[in-house]
């Protein structure tokens, strides 16, 4: 070792590592798991995140040895089944979204956005000029402007109107030959369907610009309408939202991107293709491709789980899932709208946004309400987003929750509103039942401790 490293870089003693028996380690992690909140424990109403239940059949299928022991470097002849699964998922996603071609590579929604915008850039470049601007509504996910900026575009914000949708007049004033695309979420982050979407698409297309749709909320429209049919050219789909693959700590995400025909040449390589004899293979010869954006062809285990969910539900089942997701959100809206102020009166689809306006009179704010919900046994909803709603409370129950679970949540929200009125301190100092009380978020962000050090 001393031949390759300088003496001052070599350790003389072993570092002070803890030594623990197996049982101590097992108990440590088991104990930690009981302090956690997760979708197997109860409702997780994080708006925009679509925290639906992840069916256990997905996990059983994904653990079959034929899949777990396969490797993308095996000869194509030995992984025909895995390639067929990826192709089948691409076909299903194209059918559900009304698009022509799909890449499964992106590892998450934001990664899909970046992939999509890079394809839009490559498309415009192939026609002579990449253009300059991307238009983004003020209700958008923060990842939208970030993806556009990383792709080298200037962002122009499009304001919302009083209905909570894109202001068509203001949009028309912004559309010109400098605009590469609009990035639009539909239904938008307020849970409201952009009813002018066909007109918006026409407007953009009339000036040679494209329409990118953030498909985070695809769960509201499966089998009812299709982005490809209302003019969308590029769309990312979150498998970990709409298609029941795990979120975050439960496994890697997956953000496939679906495109219309004219963008197909720009898809990342490799793509799953078929020989004249009908055998699947990874095609790398894609001269106009934006290149590789992920190892191999993305997170195969997630593709498998998503396909499992799609096939288990079938076309009718997926449509029903969207209908129930919308019904559940509207049930919560109807039960809470007299107690919490609705942010917008427009009809809700799969999620509903309230503001803390009524509770704020007693100095009880959205974050207090969220913390108090923990005491009642529920995960807090999304708070302080979308940014255009002061004190936003964004609730998305998804279709997987029973009426009993929704009623429990509604009761808790109503009880908290009563407390906010009668005993506001109870809410403002919550949570009271957790192992750790209210954490000083500002101190954690201002002076983060990022590394464990031996004492």
């Amino acid at each position: 070792m001393s031949e390759i490293l300088d003496a001052n870089l070599l350790r003389e003693d072993l570092p002070g590592m803890s030594e623990l028996s197996e049982v101590d380690v097992v108990r440590h992690f088991t104990r930690l798991s009981t302090w956690n909140y997760h979708i197997d424990l109860g409702l997780y109403p994080l708006g925009s995140c679509t925290m639906k239940y992840n069916p256990k059949i997905n996990e059983r299928i994904a653990r079959l040895q034929g899949f777990t022991l396969a490797h993308p470097y095996l000869p194509a002849a030995d992984i025909q089944g895995a390639l067929e699964i990826q192709k089948a998922l691409e076909t299903c996603l194209a059918e559900i979204s009304g698009m022509d071609a799909v890449t499964l590579q992106p590892a998450a929604g934001a990664h899909g956005e970046l992939t999509g915008i890079l394809m839009i850039r490559a498309y415009h470049e192939s026609r002579g000029h990449p253009r300059k601007k991307i238009l983004i509504p003020d209700s958008a996910h923060g990842t939208n402007p970030a993806s556009a900026a990383i792709s080298g575009y200037v962002i122009e914000t499009v304001p919302s109107n009083i209905r909570g949708t894109v202001d068509l007049g203001r949009l028309a004033a912004s559309v010109n030959e400098d605009v590469a695309a609009i990035m639009i979420t539909n239904p938008n982050t307020l849970g409201i369907f952009e009813s002018d979407i066909a007109k918006i698409s026409e407007l953009l297309h009339s000036r040679g610009a494209l329409v990118y749709m953030d498909g985070a909320n695809l769960n509201a429209m499966m089998g009812i309408t299709r982005p490809g049919d209302f003019g969308v050219d590029v769309l990312h789909i979150n498998l970990h939202k709409t298609f029941t693959t795990p979120h975050g700590g439960g496994g890697p995400g997956a953000g496939p991107v679906a495109v219309k025909k004219m963008l197909e040449p720009f898809l990342p390589y490799p793509v799953v293709a078929k020989t004249a004899e009908g055998a699947y293979f990874f095609e790398y010869e894609r001269p106009q491709s934006i290149g590789k954006i992920k190892a191999y062809n993305g997170h195969f285990g997630m593709h498998l789980r998503a396909l499992c969910y799609i096939l288990a539900n079938g076309a009718e089942g997926l449509k029903e899932a969207s209908e129930i997701a919308v019904l559940n959100a509207n049930y919560i809206r109807a039960k809470l709208k007299d107690t919490y102020a609705l942010a917008y009166e427009s009809p809700s689809l799969h999620e509903v946004v309230f503001s803390d306006r009524l509770q704020a009179r007693k100095d009880v704010h959205v974050w207090d309400i969220g913390k108090r919900l923990i005491d009642y046994g529920f995960h807090p909803p999304t708070v302080s987003f979308p940014l255009i709603v002061p004190g936003a409370i964004m609730i998305e129950p998804t279709e997987t929750e029973s009426k009993q679970e929704l009623d429990g949540f509604i009761e808790a929200m109503l009880a908290i509103a009563r407390e906010a009125d009668e005993t506001p301190e109870t809410v403002k100092t919550a949570p009271h039942t957790t192992r750790v009380g209210r954490i000083d978020e500002a101190a954690a962000a201002r002076r983060p401790v990022l590394r464990w050090k031996p004492e």
Partner: protein
């Protein structure tokens, strides 16, 4: 009370002009809306901006927001203290929480800005 020697933007920045120099920060209303501020990104001295351009960003526990310059000018000084103590913006937005000082390109450019009284009315209307 909003200090009456300041001018305000609709995006909630304030400007205090002394001669050709202008000091810029965000309003008390803005810091309250943002909540606890945890990080500020400021430009380097010498950088020039046109009126209305973003000159930095402010990050709170809730969100990251862009900062827009009320008038055109060149940055001559930034508030270095905010790096270690961004909470000064919450505690004293019109004093120790100032962000940048600029040399104004054109002292006649302040026509679109609001007086303290107009600004108070503006946030009152927005609340209703």
């Amino acid at each position: 009370m909003t200090p009456d020697d300041l001018l305000f933007t609709k995006e909630h920045e304030w400007l205090r002009i002394v001669g050709e120099a202008g000091t810029i920060g965000i309003s008390d209303h803005a810091q309250k809306e943002l909540g606890d501020i945890v990080y500020v990104e400021l430009p380097k001295p010498g950088m020039k901006f046109n009126s209305g351009e973003p000159f930095g960003s402010v990050e709170s526990v809730k969100a990251v927001s862009e900062l827009f310059i009320p008038v055109s000018g060149e940055v001559i000084e930034i508030n270095e203290d905010l790096g270690a103590a961004p909470e000064k913006i919450n505690e004293d937005p019109y004093g120790a929480g100032w962000m940048i000082r600029i040399r104004l390109s054109n002292t006649d450019e302040t026509g679109d800005l609001m007086s303290a009284e107009e600004y108070d009315e503006y946030i009152q209307e927005a609340a209703e």
